[in-house]
Amino acid sequence: MMMVRDEAELVDCVRGAQGRLSLCGGATRGLVEGADALSLGGLSGITLYEPGSLTMVAGAGTPVAEVEAALAEQNQRLAFEPMDHRGLLRTNGEPTIGGVFAANVSGPRRMVVGAARDFLLGVRFVDGRGKVVSNGGRVMKNVTGYDLVKLMAGSFGALGALSEVSFKVLPKPETEATLVLHGLSDREAIAALALAMRSPFEVSGAAHVPQEGITLLRLEGFEASVGYRLSRLKELLAAQAGEVEVLGAAGSAARWQAVRDVDAFHRAGGDVWRIACKPSQAPDLAEAAKADAHLFDWAGGLLWCRVGAGVDLRARLGTFDGHATITRAAAKTLKQLGRFHPQQTGVARLTAGLRDRFDPRGIFHSEIGGLHAG
């Protein structure tokens, strides 16, 4: 694996590249096979943190753990709750903040506060010609020119190598609690979650774990406010739910970390798929998936499925408003089915056009929009 220590080395590395480059931070989501791996883990360090402005600037290779530790000291956090893929993918390495943004990695709170892309304020990256491009900045509202910041978020190394990111952070709430409903079927659970999400009680996590027969609703904020909203939610869901229990702050935090990292699938084999859909359609999709196990997050808007190795889940699901992405599978399956959902023609053409402009030599080996042929 190649390493660079600073942006200048990154420029040299991209300019001098002969073959294809597969970009990574700590490689915790694995490497795309068939290219030289280039790690940006060396571009590390927090360069600016202003808690009163809710902003941080850091090298792309800065460990997420370092970012989170610095934020915790000021009682702040990454509100989009980035997932740690190591358990699910059985990888080692250190997740980096650049990797989080390049793969637009979020967690359960995504459905209310937004994804990683919504918190990214500015980027510096090196495009396929070795040009350093800067876009956005370190302020929360910025409509100066095109938003390449969003384009780079979730671009999986297809357009350029991130060297620096600036992002918005948020205060950590005083406390959290989780309301647990027991014994609901998938359909009952999604209906209960929808009812809760229609309420003004600011639910910040809404998941259903069929294997355990539990449905989870998280509340965060000031102590008294969480208590008040818990009691209102219980009233609201009284008709839907039989037995309920409440998890206090510690239990709640542990439970949501397990949802975030899909702990339920860590030990079992098989492929793991991630389906983004309309929440109300999730129970039908779960039925059609005939998965060995499944799990709903985002009130149903995110459906995790574990299926046998090599199964083409997209064929089982048919056409729906959303997309199915492979999170864990053998290289052969990824090659055969494609990690990302096939794109409609117009989108595919625009994607190919953008890749061609930012990387005319085709050196970035990325699965987004499909790997370059040959």
Binding site: P51, M111, R138, M140, A194, F222, V347
Partner: protein
Amino acid sequence: MEMPIPDAGIIARKARIVARLLSVLPETAVIHDPAETRAYECDALTAYRCPPMIAVLPQTTAEVSDVLRICHEEGVPVVPRGSGTSLAGGALPTADSVILGVARMNAVLETDYDNRLIRVQTGRTNLSVTGAVEEDGFFYAPDPSSQLACAIAGNIAMNSGGAHCLKYGVTTNNLMGVTIVLMDGEIITIGGGYLDAGTLDLLGVICGSEGQLGVVTEATLRILPKPEGARPVLIGFDDNEVAGACVSDIIRAGVLPVAIEFMDRPCIEATEAFAHAGYPMCEALLIIEVEGSDAEIDYQLGLIVEIARRHNPVEVRESKSADESARIWLGRKSAFGAMGQINDYMCLDGTIPVSSLPHVLRRIGEMSAEYGLKVGNVFHAGDGNMHPLILFDANKEGDLELCEAFGADILRLCVEVGGCLTGEHGVGIEKRDLMEVQYGPDDLAAQMAIKDVFDPAWLLNAAKVFPLRVSEQWRGAAVAAE
């Protein structure tokens, strides 16, 4: 303001172009009489005017596609227009252009409360999106000041914000999907009722692209359940710097208000004279609003007031009722109108890191004395989005130019302290020639490369966003390739 020289060849073909447009649109949707096209000569940046050659008002995505295909074939520049409320000249036509207005496309296509979304045609006004769902307890969060008039199409084009985006984000954070028509007429759907398409984030780059990449005809928007209630507190300080420090302390304390608005003395004085909101006469005034149940609001306002008291405020006025809330907001909401009563004004929109607030306010004060033009500051303090209002006299020769030079200096200052030229209004023509203050040649080239992909012929709103001298080569190359 320099604009490209209109293409005489296109204007000479006007009759033929009108005839072709009439072949796909009803007669009432094609406006070509110079007496009528004048209605489209400017947007809310009224200092610059130019009637378009033709204006069209399609009603469906298919009609928009037909119009764009014809204009593409004829090589006619197209300027998309929502409601024409842009403060940046985003909808300013050229004499050889077709204005494509979406005002007649204002239908609600779908409301879906289980999935918390609404699908609308983009000519629908911002406020009427909330209007369509509020009886059922929902609202659409982005709330630009012009929300009564401005269209979703323009909100998407400029990535509009508003007073409440500290908590709820701006347009891009509330946009789930679009139907967009490219310049050659191709209709593309991106995103929809689900989150985070596993593709390049085209939706993210379309939002805020100022009508240069395509015409967005339909949008899927996230709607939110209305909070139980909301109430503000008004806090006056005898020092700008102290008010700025108070904002920072509130944010650090973990309270996340929905809005933190800031007004300085010139603005408070103008507002009082105009709206009689009963504001204290002081150097700086904060209006901070929080949401929740009554008890939750009381608790949060209590925390905020406790923090404010440490900064020796000259006045603290906590709202206890809807009536008191309305009085607190009254002055803020009439601030622009109040400044307009004194004189003509230019409204800037730069954003700065919140920590730079005191320094920037001090510098603006000094520059105001140097230029001999008064400035009032009213802005979204929570996110650093400033709105300096520079007063000038449009009838006095040279005053507009002086005002523009002052404005440019303020924007340079915003960039210098780590901020940007525009936080929510967009670049348009107004800040076009300042883009190089914020971005280097490679940064701008990367942005123009995107336009090249979406609109290779550079026909859509091409004279905006990028300095003409910088985009000239790209526009020229596009013409040569056609």
